[in-house]
């Protein structure tokens, strides 16, 4: 059996292997009962990560449904998607949950989805009302109002 590095999964397996080594190192310093999962899980994780990293599971898994190896444009889309979803969380932290949801929906629909202004504004306003009614009135949950009202962390 030839052993060769699994290039397809390298970007994921290297951090996972490092994670396993790190948790093994830290976990082995805990008491015997507390260290049970951190120690044994990281040992097995290290072994399994190395198994895949060295391409040993290629014998059974040819990675045909592996999607990370798609083209550059696809990777660009994923990066943009991740960034745009992070923007929502940042907006929620700064201006509060409901204003962020309304603004985010509007921007998503109007600027990225090519929807008409009225459609985007109407949908985001209705969403805001539903969220407000559901959480603040029905569930009686006071939602986060943003860093300017609630203060920093």
């Amino acid at each position: 059996m030839k052993i060769r590095l699994d290039q397809d999964n390298l970007l994921l397996l290297l951090p996972l292997t490092a994670f396993a080594v790190g948790t093994l190192y830290i976990g082995s310093n805990y008491g015997p009962v507390s260290a049970f999962i951190p120690f044994w899980a990281s040992i097995f994780m290290l072994i399994t990560c190395l198994f895949v990293l060295l391409g040993m599971d290629k014998a059974v898994d040819d990675g045909e449904d592996h999607v990370a190896a798609k083209g550059e444009s696809d990777n660009h889309n994923v990066l943009a998607s991740g960034l745009w979803i992070t923007v929502y969380v940042v907006m929620a932290y700064v201006v509060g949950m409901i204003p962020a949801a309304v603004a985010y929906t509007f921007f998503s629909m109007y600027f990225f989805g090519g929807k008409k202004l009225l459609m985007a504004a109407g949908t985001s306003a209705v969403l805001g009302l539903i969220l407000f009614g559901l959480f603040e009135f029905i569930l009686e949950k006071e939602l986060y109002k943003g860093v300017f009202i609630e203060g920093y962390f």
Binding site: T23, F44, D61, G63
Partner: protein
């Protein structure tokens, strides 16, 4: 409490017919319907999003809501499978084989009627199996001690990973990662702080709800936004004739042998941890083809109604079967059941002996709700099929922000903690990365739920065994479970060695 106490069973049904309960059931059904129709989202995402809302309810109402979601998702997924050749959930893929050709022949209503009716009847057969298993399972579970629960948790992770077939090792990696994440924070028994790095937020560990919402719902949203366009590719949708729908509804009764066989396969496969609905549906389809008359076999794949009835009955019947290991041993049969398991845990019910003895009333409420939701789902699916299918044409630029808002606010509202939103986002990325690299995610929720159970069972095993694990080899139950674990690993290794030899020979 007796397992088949008629008063408890009667109370459960009466509870279900209270106005509040019916509303929760309808709400769950509606949400499950929407998510079930949208490919890639499905019941797991819907359940994860519903967790924060269920926290404000009492356990019975929460279970009813969740049963509504679980009951309808497989049924509604059949509508898009038939009308658009786009399965709403993975098990509905088997339905496209004959359902879509039927729609192309102008018999969409007939196929939808048969699918909905087979789903409803299959679900009821699965529930009957569950009812029959409750008293037996209870006796079996009471034979188990913490030693066995420790081993069962390991067995659960191994079997769930094994169910991913050739991706066994990758699934194990995800499961082990989940176990380490579950160990963050104070140890329940020793009080020792682990992996907190001085961050106060991590003292209690990662909370289940933000982690689950992130891992399943947010990761799907990242994927959906990156894909662009609508959830399903827009195409021609066949018109639905209501008379055909009614004719289709009667078809599973006429072909009762196919229905019963499909349901039996569904319940049997569903009861095996980790195997899931896709295997059940395709197995039922394959057996339907192989047992058909030789003259009929050629019609499969070209619009044979048996090819719709068999997978749909199996797909819904598996829910009843899957609830058996979930409730009795805390080993869920699917990612959906793993999320459902976390709902039980959050409401203070520990799957295993406790739930089978102390929460039987809740189990019967669940059974009643699951049976009712299957029937309601079938009725709704039949009456609103074409409207349901149109949901798949919703643009991702509209759907993503709406789902994301519910996900993030739901995550925050659990403890009014803004850090939970960041946790949700972080686990959204983690879930997405695993998905993108083709690592099966099913073992992760299982590990998160089973981690604390494993730690407690390990501690109790040490106490019973005077500080050693030698007791593992003293009890026959433990030895049987250990043999099963070894058997599962050996099964994978056998396939691995055979494939290696085959590849070397061909090279």
């Amino acid at each position: 409490m007796e397992a088949l106490d008629l008063a408890v069973i009667g109370d459960a049904w009466l509870r279900l017919f209270e106005l509040d309960s019916l509303l929760y059931l309808m709400l769950g059904t509606l949400i499950g319907l929407i998510f079930g129709v949208l490919p890639g989202l499905g019941g797991t995402t819907a359940l994860a999003l519903m967790i924060p809302f269920s926290m404000n309810m009492d356990a019975g109402d929460a279970i009813i809501l969740m049963a509504g979601v679980m009951g309808v998702a497989p049924t509604s997924g059949a509508v898009t499978a038939i009308l658009l050749n786009t399965p709403g959930t993975a098990p509905n893929a088997a339905t496209t084989l004959d359902g879509y050709p039927l729609a192309q022949q102008g018999r969409a209503g007939f196929a939808i009627g048969a699918a909905a009716s087979a789903s409803g009847l299959g679900g009821i057969i699965g529930i009957i199996f569950l009812i029959a298993m409750v008293p037996i399972t209870r006796e079996i579970v009471l034979m188990f001690a913490p030693t066995e629960f420790l081993l069962l948790a390991v067995l659960g992770l191994v079997t769930v990973s094994l169910s991913t077939g050739k991706k066994f090792v990758k699934s194990l990696i995800v499961g082990l990662f989940g176990l380490i994440i579950a160990s963050v924070g104070y140890h329940e028994v020793t009080g020792e702080e682990r992996f907190t790095f001085g961050i106060d937020y991590l003292w209690d560990g990662f909370k289940l709800v933000p982690v689950m919402i992130g891992f399943f719902a947010v990761s799907e949203m990242i994927n959906l936004w990156a894909k662009r366009g609508s959830v399903a590719a827009s195409g021609e949708m066949e018109a639905i004739n209501f008379r055909q729908v009614l004719q289709g509804c009667l078809e599973p009764i006429k072909r009762w042998k196919v229905l019963l066989r499909g349901s039996a396969i569904g319940t049997g496969v569903g009861a095996l941890p980790g195997v899931g609905g896709t295997v059940a549906a395709f197995m039922a389809y394959t057996i339907a083809v192989t047992t058909a008359k030789p003259s009929e076999r050629d019609s499969f794949g070209k619009g044979n109604i048996v090819g719709v009835i068999a997978p749909e009955s199996a797909n819904n019947a598996k829910e009843g079967g899957a609830l058996v290991p979930t409730l009795a041993f805390g080993i869920p049969g699917s990612a959906e059941m793993a999320v459902f398991l976390s709902v039980l845990v959050l409401h203070g019910m520990v799957p295993g002996p406790t739930i089978m003895t102390e929460s039987l009333d809740i189990i019967w409420i669940l059974i009643a709700a699951a049976a009712a939701s299957g029937v309601i789902a079938s009725i709704i699916t039949i009456s609103a099929a074409s409207s349901i299918a149109k949901l798949t044409f919703v643009d991702s630029r509209t759907l993503v922000p709406i789902v994301l808002a519910f996900a993030m606010i739901g995550s925050y509202s659990l403890d009014n903690e803004i850090y939970d939103v960041f946790t949700t986002l972080a686990f959204g990325f983690v879930g997405f990365i695993f998905m993108r690299f083709g690592f099966p995610r099913i073992a992760f929720p299982l590990a998160i739920v089973l981690g604390p159970l494993m730690e407690t069972s390990y501690f109790q095993t040490l106490r019973i065994g005077d500080g050693t694990l030698s007791i593992l080899f003293d009890r026959p139950q433990s030895i049987v479970i250990m043999l099963l674990i070894v058997g599962c690993v050996a099964y994978y290794l056998k396939g691995f060695l055979t494939s290696s030899e085959g590849k070397e020979t061909s090279a």
